[in-house]
Symmetry: D2
Subunit: 473 residues, 4 copies
């Protein structure tokens, strides 16, 4: 029989707090600042004197917890939470995290941000041995490994399990007496520790979540580390020594919030630098620089500053975009209907425009924006991309899964330029990107993962090896 | 017995189309681009071969029409729609427009953007004469006046009614055979006419709604005009000659969308000019200019350009702000919890910041933003406001109703600066504002209404006269 | 232009209380026992120290008030409420009562059970004179008549208005200082007054609503009476002397609840008598008597008792019938799918069955039930109907509107028997019905309206005259 | 750490069909007739060419499938479904069945009606061995046992698992190629096989579900049988020979629908016989017999028939009882408020009433009904119960869990009579019950389970033994 696990890539956000009398509410506000990392669903599990209880559902955080009584019921002095990325069509609440498990001898909840490369193999082996899975998320695997470990001490069970899963992962667990965080040996995903004024410890996917609740930054979780937080404080251990930093460069390019710092680097600064270096690498004469709102505004302002060409607001983003939407008919589409973005005719008409965007995936969006600007009267549109061409899929948690959907994997720069109907097109170089971000690790690419650009994956691909090899032939 | 009509100020948006086979859907997309003008409720009435039917409800447009079948049922070749401004606590669907009236001899639907100054007087007179109102909105009044007019010809009834209502209004009506638009004698609110590729005529509160459906701009509706659109085309008449342009300057300052043009002036351009002139009027040395997202980004970039000081992204706006929200407890509020705006520590720490905002109403928001920046390490925060101090209430449709809530009506600039804990504070001058917008009408203030700044109301205040006089003593 | 007011027949229920600290909650429970009179929508308006506020919506009472906070907000010492009959397809909340009107000099709420015969004429005259209606219910008419009356005293305005409306009506109004009930000159619809233990006065469509809240019965409202209840007690006046009792016999036959008394006659008793007399008029030998649940169980038990034939439970009604339902496909319909009623095979198989039903409208339901019984093995099915054949429409509030839909208006008893595939068919005689109910009024038919059976309408038909005459030709 | 599995008793309903092109819709209608067996939640899993997909949620069936598109998406030629009993406070969708499992080598869905007596022991053993449970329902246990079985052939795995679970159970499973039903060795719960006109096979908890979809009855599933239905037809095997019929007598007394047959006995007939025998055992002179609607009407009519005392409708049940309800205040409760049942004053006033009910659990309901009748004027109320006193808990699926809640376990008949304020009280004898039902099995009590009456449990109690023994001391 044919069997297919649809690999759910999980760019998600996790947040946890230990030692606050209103832990679920703190978690709510922390998660709120991580909402950009996942809009499909959200959940919180609280620990009240060793008893766990939770709530999760499909929808934005504010929808899932729209009834204030839900949070009121989640009393507890510790909590973890999760926001889940929208992957079209798989909207079952069974996949919304944290997963809460109640055993006769233990209660554990588990949240996960990342993607395992050996999930299929592990799952098949576990099922063959009698395990029953209830979601099609990778996340459950760790729990089975922990519960089946023969180690007598619980932390040793966790370490044993962490050494069996491969790929990109940031785990956050809560038990009766501890909160536990762990990062994969490459540290693909960001994960930071902070502390609140009252002494409570906080773990979050991005530092913006620390800011929002007034917590101070302590330090990032490092590759291969497991962090145990309980009433005795924070204890950090290394569950493996086989580590090598390879931080996801897409976090800097478009995924993380501009006010977050990753590995000590401010994301807005990094993006502005991408724009600056892009201006040096791919200068052109024009009347104005405009960015695609909102993610490319930092890079665009960097480009403007470095080039001396004025930065303008040439595109307006409608802030009332609903997630379920009336679709225009074909005829209306042809007549107009730009619900998300509008070109400002009064700004761009008759002008030569440099359009800065953060990246190109399929090329369909940028093509539509170029058209928009031209219809609004722009004389020339020169596209400048703040990152190198995306040519390879990501297996560590970013939702780029096949080479077929990547326009830069199929076509040359000149061909892409023609397809998107731009007057010129340039990408930032790989070295430019590395320099712009400016990590200082003693590791390839200064500690960045550059695999989507050059296919140089920092780990074996396990279950994905065969399909990857087929795709690059 | 005491009787109080709570005057509902109505910054709203209207949109209508005549002559398109999918009129309700066109109206949906037009209204979608006007959503910033009102989020409390939305409605559409369609005309199918002379029969009117409609749908309206509380909520965002996309929520009200989330079930695609609703639009499918609103077949028709003409339609009008309305988005309504959120006025806290009065959320009854009875007030959501368009209002649809079915008489034994006529069907009419009516939508309204504005505020009448003699509503209370007219309503009392009408009720004394047996009229029954079903909403507490001003909008119904016009319909009673029309139906009670003794004029034999329908258009004369409308003109007679338009001459009885006073204040700020943009009306949009649809009958069995026509769509009718009318603007008050001062033209406080914007209203424009456009045409689609297929010849259909469109009326909209802002030109951005023309762009979104691919319609070309024909001309603005002028003060004192009534526009009749039907299968014979467009006919424009003057229902009064006692006109004097006094376009609401707050539309330019913060209310309209930056890609709209009002009286031929692009809103983004006008805002950028406000920033430029502010930089000249109130220069100061600093490390960076930042704007309050999103409405003040144009002015901030103008300030930066004119001053030569770099424009930076120092504040991040969370784009996932729900309308109903879990409120932080007092303790959490003190510890942090900035759900809407965050300061980018990596950008502002140790810097002297010029913070540009469009206006100050109560002063509470700007005070919180200054605090945010200082907590994120800003060394100095110099507040620059792209408009003059707001000192007087608006009676023509902007929701500023009492002097008590206006900080600039109570305190001097120096006092405000101290209250908001800024290092310096400056407002744009009245002349600066008039110059930045650059209207050319042969009228006071070049055709702008400046009443909120200087109390120079372009009309008598009727029902509001007494309370206004009491407030300024 | 063609104009059509779809006459909404209103078998509804009204309830009001004056002088109870929790008036809205009392009204909720009173209405709950009247839910059988209307399931489309419900509403309550409360009077708190002279200020009226209300809530109404589509749905069952328990749905409309499912959020307990709604009732909590409706504080007040007096209240009126309404449940509205489901008329397919016209589900607008605009038609849900009570209607609440706030004038500059007065607040009034209004609820109505009945149907006016001159509504169209009155409405057209009022609209011609400038009146604006907001619903397509008859109910609004009274309010326009009251507000336009030239009488200086409010009660005289009401009496003047009551003398202008014709047909069947039971009105319940509440103002700042009084609750007012009025019944039409024929007393078509039931309306009773009761008193609670604490002295509060209650008005209700049926006496079962008095029982449910523990109120004692005082007396019925009589034809042509208007009842004023306020802090001074109850005052009853006659607004017209042109009265003649003609109580709707369908209330006894199937509409009212069996535990209610109308004009002193218990409804269950009346139905049981109908069964008893039917057994005498139309005896037949059989093995068992079964009734159609639930409305015909009383009549069936009467038939069984009088005939000496055992009463059996041969039909089971599924108590979980949802109002919106998945429809079976054609194929499934043919294979079975009886969601509402099932025949008990173990009871009826091989037996001769007397099937008692209260009335036949279209004949489709009884035909399906006969089939059901035969498929379950019944050897013979003899249909006995506890009322005379329905041959004429009702214009006073029962939803039988055209003769076309009445099978007995089109076919003879023998033809109907054949169409419904019964082995025999008999109806109760008109005299039998009158005797079974046993009213004692000095009026035609002892005070019953028998018009649906014999076309003898107790009032002129006004707006319906023409269409009625056309139908009987 | 303390760990408590709240044992969820599961009086539920299951339905399945194999071989119908619209299997999910057939299942919907089948389940609809089983809604009385469970109102907390419902679900359906369909099999389309070997692929399973499902939908389940909290609420009534019609609510769970209110959007017709859900059923449309559940295409398939086979399906199983489940309705779940409402157990207060544990309303998580995780417990709603069928449970759907997707393994790398197999897809299975599982529904269950019953209660296991060794669930806690099995669950603890499985968890100790690494199993992870996702609900707190007993139902999951069977799936773990199946997947962990070492038998090579799938049907042998199922049989091995069935021999490990103890207590009362009716399982219904669906796999890629078969539908499988199984009954416990005592046959506590009913389960029947039928066939549709097109040849499709059907399995259902009660025969009323066969009637509703037009299927003919084939035979009951017998104790210890496992039924395999696939494209080759029906195959029935015995998974154990250690069987002894002990059909739950409460199914006959009040749980099953009157039109169902269990073990060939019609439920209405059985109830009527209970009434007849009760009349013989506990005769008394009175004016009328009334039953508590709806479950006791059969028994009441039997009592009336046998005694010759007239059967009357003395209690009316409000058919619009919502599941979430506004609660009356204490004061209102005292003044009346009988939302569910009303006494018919016009029937019972001044009369001596025999009140027939099916059973007494806590005694609170019958006490309230006696009061109701007395307040409505009944001179005497003689309570007659159609079953013996309930004295012992049920561990096989009926929600009677502790002796403490059973009034007959604490008090004598005389004491109960006094507590419920009746004029006399009598129960049907055990022999009377056995005779009334009339099973013919060669087993104790002719094949009935009488344990709730006499503590004679037909199986060991396993996990419940200790608490049971404590309770009877």
């Amino acid at each position: 029989m044919s069997y297919e696990v649809r690999s759910l890539n999980e760019e998600c956000g996790v947040f946890g707090v230990w030692g606050h009398p209103d832990a679920a509410r703190v978690t709510y506000f922390g998660l709120h600042s991580l909402q950009h990392r996942g809009q499909e669903g959200a959940g919180i599990v609280a620990n009240h004197q060793g008893k766990l209880s939770g709530h999760r559902d499909l929808g934005l955080l504010a929808e899932v917890f729209s009834d204030e009584r839900i949070l009121d019921r989640l009393t507890g002095e510790a909590a973890i939470g999760h926001v889940r990325y929208a992957t079209a069509g798989n909207g079952s609440v069974d996949n919304i995290q944290p997963f809460l498990f109640k055993f006769f001898d233990q209660q554990i909840a588990l949240a996960h941000n990342g993607n395992l490369t050996n999930a299929k193999t592990l799952r098949k082996a576990l099922e063959t041995d009698g395990a029953i899975f209830h979601s099609n998320s990778d996340t459950e695997i760790l729990m089975h490994l922990i519960r089946r470990s023969s180690q007598p001490v619980f932390m040793d069970r966790i370490k044993e399990a962490l050494n069996q899963v491969k790929g990109g992962f940031a785990y956050l667990l809560i038990t009766e007496d501890s909160m536990i965080a762990a990062l994969d040996p490459n540290g693909f995903r960001p994960l930071s520790i902070g502390q609140m004024v009252n002494g409570a410890y906080v773990v979050a996917s991005e530092t913006c979540a620390l800011e929002v609740i007034g917590a101070s930054f302590i330090r990032d979780v490092k590759p291969g580390e497991v962090v145990i937080i309980n009433d005795d404080g924070v204890q950090i251990e290394q569950y493996t020594d086989d580590v090598q930093p390879a931080i996801c460069s897409m976090e800097f390019i478009y995924f993380a919030r501009p006010d977050s710092n990753i590995a000590g680097v401010n994301v807005h600064r990094a993006r502005k630098n991408m724009g600056r270096l892009l201006a040096q690498e791919a200068a052109i004469d024009a009347d104005m620089v405009i960015g695609v709102p909102n993610s490319s505004l930092s890079a665009a302002s960097g480009y403007a500053e470095a080039s001396g060409i004025p930065y303008e607001l040439g595109l307006v983003k409608n802030q009332y975009i609903a997630r379920t939407f009336i679709q225009p008919t074909q005829e209306l589409r042809e007549q107009g209907v730009r619900m998300k973005l509008s070109a400002v005719r009064g700004v761009v008409a008759g002008k030569r425009v440099i359009l800065v965007d953060d990246s190109i995936v399929r090329g369909t969006t940028i093509r539509r924006i170029v058209q928009l600007l031209k219809e609004a009267g722009a004389k020339e549109v020169h596209v400048r991309i703040g990152s190198p061409p995306l040519k390879y899929p990501c297996f560590y948690g970013i939702d780029i899964q096949t080479r077929e959907e990547l326009i830069a994997a199929q076509y040359s720069e000149a061909e892409i330029c023609e397809k998107i109907e731009a007057d010129s097109l340039a990408f930032l170089s790989e070295n430019g990107l590395i320099e712009a971000i400016g990590l200082q690790f003693d590791a390839p690419y200064s500690g960045l993962c550059m695999a989507y650009f050059n296919g140089d994956y920092p780990t074996p691909l396990y279950d994905y090896e065969a399909s990857y090899l087929a795709s690059v032939e």
